[in-house]
């Protein structure tokens, strides 16, 4: 996943991918992968808000910009691994599948789960971003200077 050596970098990366993924895409991949691990729900999916902060002048004092909706859920697999899902929006299934994926990524099945769930989500996000970047690049202004009179 992430080349960084910071502790938890890999887990942080997959949790971030899961949080930002469209709920329908994750649900689709989940069905395709046929995953159905035995688990207990530690915290049932719960919808709430997070206050998003900005900085004055982009770099100065923090201020409250406004809230966003998120949904969180925690599960424990029968094998003991605990997974936490925190996802954007209000889709409870999204949060639960994120939590289960997080738990599975800590098991010996991690490689398969990464290939079936995380990598396709990451690639889709990269494609979306690349498409927007390419459209933006096409609207970049090329200036050319007209010959100016000397007097």
């Amino acid at each position: 996943m992430d080349g960084s050596n910071a502790p938890n970098a890999a887990r942080k990366a997959w949790l971030s991918v899961l949080a930002k993924a469209p709920a329908a895409h994750l649900a689709d991949l989940w069905i395709k992968a046929g995953l159905d691990p035995a688990h207990d729900v530690l915290r049932a999916p719960e919808i709430g808000a997070v206050m998003v902060r900005g900085r004055a002048g982009a770099v100065g004092a923090p201020f409250n910009l406004g809230e966003m909706t998120i949904t969180r859920c925690s599960v424990r697999l029968a094998t003991g691994e605990v997974g936490h899902g925190h996802v954007q929006g209000r889709d409870k299934n999204h949060a639960k599948q994120a939590a289960l994926t997080d738990a599975l990524m800590q098991t010996s099945e991690a490689k398969a789960v990464e290939a079936q769930i995380i990598t396709p989500l990451l690639k889709a996000a990269e494609r979306r971003r690349a498409t927007r970047a390419a459209k933006a690049a096409a609207t970049k202004v090329d200036f050319f200077t007209m010959v100016r009179g000397e007097d």
């Binding site: 887990r11 949790l15 997070v50 902060r53 201020f63 406004g66 929006g89 971003r129 927007r132």
Partner: protein, 363 residues
């Protein structure tokens, strides 16, 4: 004050049934879906997100549908909904330098590193009605080209390097929150920015325009205007580290204003700042101008008595939900209030008439 009165339940039920029917419109026309509103009236959705102060495009689209396109009613619905949500915490301050820019322009530097990227803008359109849109809705082909990354350096950072721009002071990690504590005066900049970003677009536009016309000297250059999406990162206590919990679309405007210097500050440029949820550059530019005007005291400028310099005036009248609540309540029954006014005016008239008669009799 208004007094509770009984009765009218049947009339109210009938009124609401009729409202639902009128909302739906003619049944031989297809019903609007939330997806359609979200996808095709995106800027309306953006306004409801920004002024409702809750980033959730599905809910904003639903609110617009329920409110029949009445934006302030839709914003009201979102504000009411958000009070029902538990608060899970606050995010790390956004790093807008990481924004994946759809649009990024500067009015101050033609050759800014990263370039001038127009994005999906109304600018340079001819503002002629396009009758093709009434007839057909075919997808257009959008050109794409290979380009540099869509993350761009902040243009202000170049002025900062030369020391020509007033530095941004830091502040409390946990800023004041007007959704938790009532807005009290005098305020500080973080509180003003929170108030301005959720303020009514029309009101802030009018205030900003007044500064341009001379009510508070405030000649602003748009150093940078950028629109794009930015990850939101939050510390998750259960994990013990932070993750990205989502992504928000933002419009950011940074203005530079000339500043002559004061006893303590050398002549330099000063900043105005606007940051708004969604694609909303009119609001972001307006916010930056009003932010700058409200900073007169901290920058040691004169208070020329302009409305945009008066934080009480600006901040106490900028919220369209507060304003509409107080304004529209006067249409609710005030029968008893009015009865007493009626009594009073009759009494005054009686007194005036009898006084007049007495005078006539005396003459």
């Amino acid at each position: 004050m208004y007094v509770a009165v009984k009765g009218g339940e049947k009339a109210i039920d009938a009124a609401h049934s009729w409202l639902a029917e009128e909302r739906r419109g003619p049944l031989d026309v297809a019903e609007l879906s939330i997806e359609q509103i979200k996808g095709q009236l995106k800027l309306a959705v953006n306004r409801v997100i920004a002024e409702g102060s809750l980033y959730d495009p599905d809910l904003a689209a639903l609110a617009i549908k329920q409110a029949r396109g009445d934006m302030i009613e839709a914003i009201f619905l979102i504000r009411a909904y958000r009070t029902t949500l538990p608060r899970f915490g606050g995010s790390e301050p956004l790093n807008t330098e990481d924004m994946a820019c759809d649009r990024r322009v500067s009015a101050t530097f033609k050759d800014a590193p990263g370039g001038q990227v127009l994005g999906p803008t109304f600018d340079y359109t001819h503002r002629l009605l396009d009758f093709k849109l009434a007839a057909e809705g075919e997808a257009t082909h959008t050109p794409q080209s290979e380009g540099d990354a869509n993350t761009k350096p902040h243009i202000m950072s170049f002025l900062d390097r030369e020391g020509l721009i007033q530095p941004e002071p830091g502040g409390a990690e946990c800023p004041p929150d007007l959704t938790r504590e009532p807005l009290e005066l005098p305020t500080n900049r973080p509180l003003r920015l929170q108030s301005l970003t959720r303020a009514d677009e029309g009101f802030i536009l009018g205030m900003a325009y007044s500064t341009q016309r001379g009510y508070a000297r405030n000649h602003a250059f748009v150093a940078e205007l950028r629109i794009g999406s930015c990850p939101v990162e939050m510390d998750i206590p259960e994990l013990g580290f932070s993750i990205e919990i989502g992504e928000v679309e933002l419009t950011e405007c940074e203005t530079v204003n000339q500043f002559q210097g004061s006893k303590t500050e050398p002549p330099q440029f000063t900043r105005g700042y606007g940051l708004v949820f969604g694609m909303s550059e009119r609001k972001a530019i307006s916010m930056a101008l009003v932010d700058r005007a409200l900073r007169w005291e901290e920058l040691g400028e004169d208070n020329v008595g302009a409305p945009a310099q008066n934080e009480e005036f600006v901040l106490y009248h900028a919220d369209n939900i507060q304003a509409t609540g107080f304004l529209e309540h006067i249409k609710l029954p005030h029968y008893v209030d009015f009865q007493s006014e009626l009594e009073l005016i009759r009494k005054l008239r009686r007194e005036a008439t009898s006084c007049h008669r007495q005078q006539e009799a005396a003459e």
